[in-house]
């Protein structure tokens, strides 16, 4: 027995000696700053002294022995939204001593899975990456922890809320309280081929063909339609094949409906906090108003100048088509602007133009029930999309640990790293994300990441204009938002694939929304909707 023990001891010593030295991801600098190494990107992020709070430091691991599990969108180590969490994980675990489990959930399943976990009280997730439209269900259901209680606590990472445009701040708060920590900013802008639209020969040809000047960026949707029609079928990328005027991602049960939402706003909304979804007095839907119907008719007409397959395309296919230079226009999220900069994925780096979504010259006036002419065009910003960010489950025994993780991601240093990458899915929105003259971020830092100087100015101007627009769409965030959206989505898809007329599709949506509202409780829904518009 003694010999066996001796042998085991020798083997143990040998094993320890042969084991590779443990990798270090954190460096505590002499000036108090902390540099972390990311997982796979061979990159580092340096946090200013105190930026990560005073709970962490040399020899300190405040959450040693604790484990948290958070959800994120499926995408893997280098995927949109999920990637940054993987990238920071080893350093964050080393800093805090906690163990972080990451659960990936496909986009369409994310809300149902998280909500089921909360409803059933399972509590398997301590935190989650949420979409902005989940707030009504999560906050009104008392399922999440407000985070503003941490703001003055010097132990936790500090993150800058001064750069939030009001349109985005609304998405991270509810009833005046903060529930989300800064991560992603979503809104759709118009992307176009700057090289083509500013080509003097094309401009002259367009003028001759249509009798109107080709204004860049196009100020109205009618201009976009006219240019898309003009360019459709031409070879836009030099491969000898005819390309498309526009490309859309219209797949049902994915993110197709957001095209309609973003496009329809200027047809309907002419004043701040004007309802877009429901009548706030009766909670009757207004989704089938003549303004909405005209917007859908327009979207379907515009889609005629894109590939027929786009009815079944999700983001990846739609973006790829544009990135390969096969369409003159796409209107979509910030990912497009940053993906254009990745040579492996894009053939149009240095050729990108971007602007806030165009306006319309005729808007539907709900008071008179008529379309009225407006000059200049009615332009409205949007925060369409997920604006994916972290929240803390009310069921977690470790809310501090979860907040520490989300707050680390929200710090200015990490957030800037995030938005400078092409692949993280984290899009810019803070004033301090934008390069001058639209913000105070360092242009050099973006250029060093491989951005084209002209592209980035276009891109940041578009997003600054969008988020800071005087008029902005009030995003639907009431309980049941997922269900309302899915009804709309399916009926839009029916119209886009020719199964229903736009009027029929939106009338059907009206009926289905009425049913949903009655089931969820009309009075409660009305009160929450009014609150979301700032009416109460």
């Amino acid at each position: 027995m003694r010999h066996v023990l001796r042998l085991l001891s020798v083997l143990a010593v040998l094993a320890l000696g042969l084991a590779p030295a443990q990798e270090t991801y954190v460096t505590f600098n002499a000036d108090g700053s902390i540099t972390i190494r990311l997982l796979t990107d061979d990159e580092t992020v340096t946090f200013a002294p105190g930026e990560l709070g005073n709970l962490v430091g040399p020899g300190l691991q405040p959450y040693a022995g604790k484990t948290i599990t958070v959800t994120t969108n499926s995408g893997g180590v280098m995927g949109g939204i999920s990637g940054p969490i993987y990238q920071v994980r080893p350093a964050w675990e080393e800093l805090t001593g906690a163990k972080l489990n990451i659960v990936e959930i496909p986009l369409g399943e994310a809300f149902p899975q998280v909500f089921a976990d909360l409803q059933l009280g399972t509590g398997q997730f301590d935190g989650f990456i949420v979409g902005a439209d989940w707030y009504g269900d999560l906050v009104e259901g008392d399922f999440v922890v407000p985070v503003d209680t941490y703001f003055d606590n010097p132990g936790f990472p500090t993150w800058d809320r001064s750069g939030f445009p009001p349109s985005l701040q609304t998405l991270y708060t509810w009833g005046g309280r903060w529930y989300g920590t800064l991560n992603d900013s979503d809104g759709q802008v118009l992307y176009y081929r700057r090289d083509i639209l500013t080509d003097p020969a094309i401009q002259a040809e367009y003028q001759a063909a249509t009798g109107r000047a080709l204004v860049v960026p196009p100020p109205t949707w009618d201009d976009v339609l006219s240019i898309a029609r003009f360019l459709n079928g031409r070879d836009l990328n030099g491969d000898g094949e005819g390309d498309s005027g526009v490309v859309l991602h219209l797949k049902v049960n994915a993110q197709g409906l957001f095209h309609f939402i973003s496009l329809a706003v200027p047809f309907v909304v002419t004043r701040p906090n004007q309802p877009f979804w429901f009548d706030p007095d009766t909670m009757d839907p207004i989704i089938n108003s003549p303004g909405h119907v005209r917007a859908l008719e327009f979207l379907i007409e515009l889609s005629q100048y894109g590939p027929a397959a786009q009815v079944g395309w999700d983001l990846g296919e739609g973006w790829d088509y544009f990135l390969r230079g096969r369409a003159a226009f796409v209107f979509s999220w910030g990912d497009v602007g940053s993906l254009v900069q990745i040579p492996e994925r894009s053939d149009i780096k240095g050729k990108l133009g971007a602007s806030i979504l165009p306006g319309v010259r005729e808007v539907y006036d709900t008071a008179s029930g008529q379309f009225v002419a407006v000059d200049p065009p009615n332009v409205v910003g949007n925060t369409t999309g997920g604006s994916w960010h972290g929240m803390i489950s009310v069921l977690t025994p470790n809310p501090d640990v979860v907040y520490h993780l989300w707050a680390t991601q929200a710090t200015r240093s990490f957030s800037l790293w995030n938005v400078r990458q092409g692949w993280t899915g984290v899009d810019p929105g803070m004033a301090w994300h934008f390069v001058p003259p639209y913000g105070n971020a360092s242009l050099e830092a973006y250029l060093s990441q491989g951005w084209n100087a002209d592209d980035i100015v276009e891109y940041h101007r578009a997003y600054r204009d969008n988020y800071f627009a005087p008029l902005n769409l009030s995003f639907l965030r009431i309980p049941g938002a997922f269900e309302y959206r899915q009804s709309l989505d399916q009926n839009l898809s029916k119209a886009e694939s020719g199964q229903l007329t736009p009027q029929e599709a939106l009338d059907l949506t009206f009926a289905q929304w009425q049913e949903t509202t009655d089931r969820l409780g009309r009075d409660r829904q009305r009160a929450i909707y009014r609150a979301s518009l700032g009416l109460e």
């Binding site: 369409g108 149902p112 909500f115 089921a116 909360l118 409803q119 059933l120 009280g121 259901g141 008392d142 399922f143 797949k251 049902v252 049960n253 994915a254 590939p307 027929a308 397959a309 786009q310 009815v311 079944g312 296919e317 088509y321 009310v394 049941g480 997922f482 269900e483 899915q486 399916q490 009926n491 898809s493 029916k494 119209a495 886009e496 694939s497 020719g498 199964q499 229903l500 059907l508 289905q512 949903t516 089931r519």
Partner: protein, 283 residues
């Protein structure tokens, strides 16, 4: 021995299993089908009587999904049976490489349906997918309502025909040779032998396969889910998909339970009808 109580001890796990995982959910879901129920920290359950069942019969989305399910069911099950029998007859003869071909024929059966849906997404891809790249014209497999339904149906047929083929082949191989030898004395027509001899003898197996495929086909979910997500619009949304969405997307558990019960009753009718028919055949 016969009166030994030990048999109850051995039976107990199975009884508990059935009680816990079949009977209890069945009763519980029947109960909640009479409520407008929202789970959560503030559980609310409002008695609505038969309202959820009434919704099943008045909801246009249900009607659409029933049509989609029936169209898929009738076309794919018919095709699976016909192809299954044809292939079984073919493979019941002496063919060179028969074993290898038979193995290859059955491989679709072992693939996960959701993965099959995703696989065919790339095969059907309209801009340069495998099929459209070899055809002189582009078929809108995913973006056109009718073509999407055709696309889903073809994958269903591709995956489940091998099941019918395997069962029919086993049945054919069990038929006595003497009958065929006697039949060949009466006629030289292979079709007549098949129609008058093979088919009648296969009838019980055909009914069994039909029953299995109908009950499975009524629940079709994973292939359209992976391939089209039910779209475009709701062109390929089946009844099961709609039921799932009502329950686990919209958290309308009462309605979802009612939908499930209506499906259960429909399946029971189908099964009863076919069992009766089988009994008649055997008798």
């Amino acid at each position: 021995m016969q009166k030994s109580p030990i048999k109850y001890v051995f039976l107990l796990p199975a009884v508990l299993w059935v009680l816990a995982f079949t009977i209890f959910p069945l009763i519980y879901s029947l109960r909640i089908s009479f409520y407008n129920i929202r789970l959560g920290r503030n559980v609310s359950a409002i008695w609505v009587g038969l309202h959820n069942f009434a919704r099943v019969f008045t909801d246009s989305r249900v009607q659409e999904s029933v049509v989609v399910t029936l169209v898929l069911l009738v076309t794919t099950v018919t095709a699976q049976l016909v192809l299954g029998i044809a292939l079984a007859v073919l493979f019941n003869r002496h063919l060179p490489g028969r074993s290898l071909l038979r193995t290859l024929m059955t491989t679709p059966l072992f693939a996960t349906p959701v993965a099959v849906g995703l696989l065919f997404l790339t095969i059907y891809y309209e801009e340069g997918g495998f099929i459209n790249s070899i055809l002189p014209w582009k078929i809108p497999w995913i973006s056109h309502p009718q073509w999407a339904l055709v696309g889903v149906g073809l994958v269903e047929i591709w995956q489940w025909t091998p099941f019918c083929f395997l069962v029919f082949l086993a049945a054919l191989q069990s038929l006595p040779d003497e009958l065929y030898e006697a039949a060949r004395l009466d006629t030289s027509s292979g079709w007549r032998v098949f129609r008058s001899l093979t088919l009648p003898m296969l009838q019980p197996v055909v009914i069994l396969v039909l029953l299995l495929r109908l009950t499975e086909g009524l629940k079709v979910f994973d292939i359209p889910w992976g391939l089209t997500g039910g779209g475009p619009g709701t062109a390929t949304q089946t009844y099961s998909m709609f039921t799932y969405r009502a329950g686990f997307r919209h958290f309308d558990f009462g309605y979802s339970s009612a939908l499930g019960y209506v499906m259960l009753i429909a399946e029971m009718i189908v099964i009863t009808f076919f069992f009766k028919r089988m009994r008649q055949v055997y008798e």
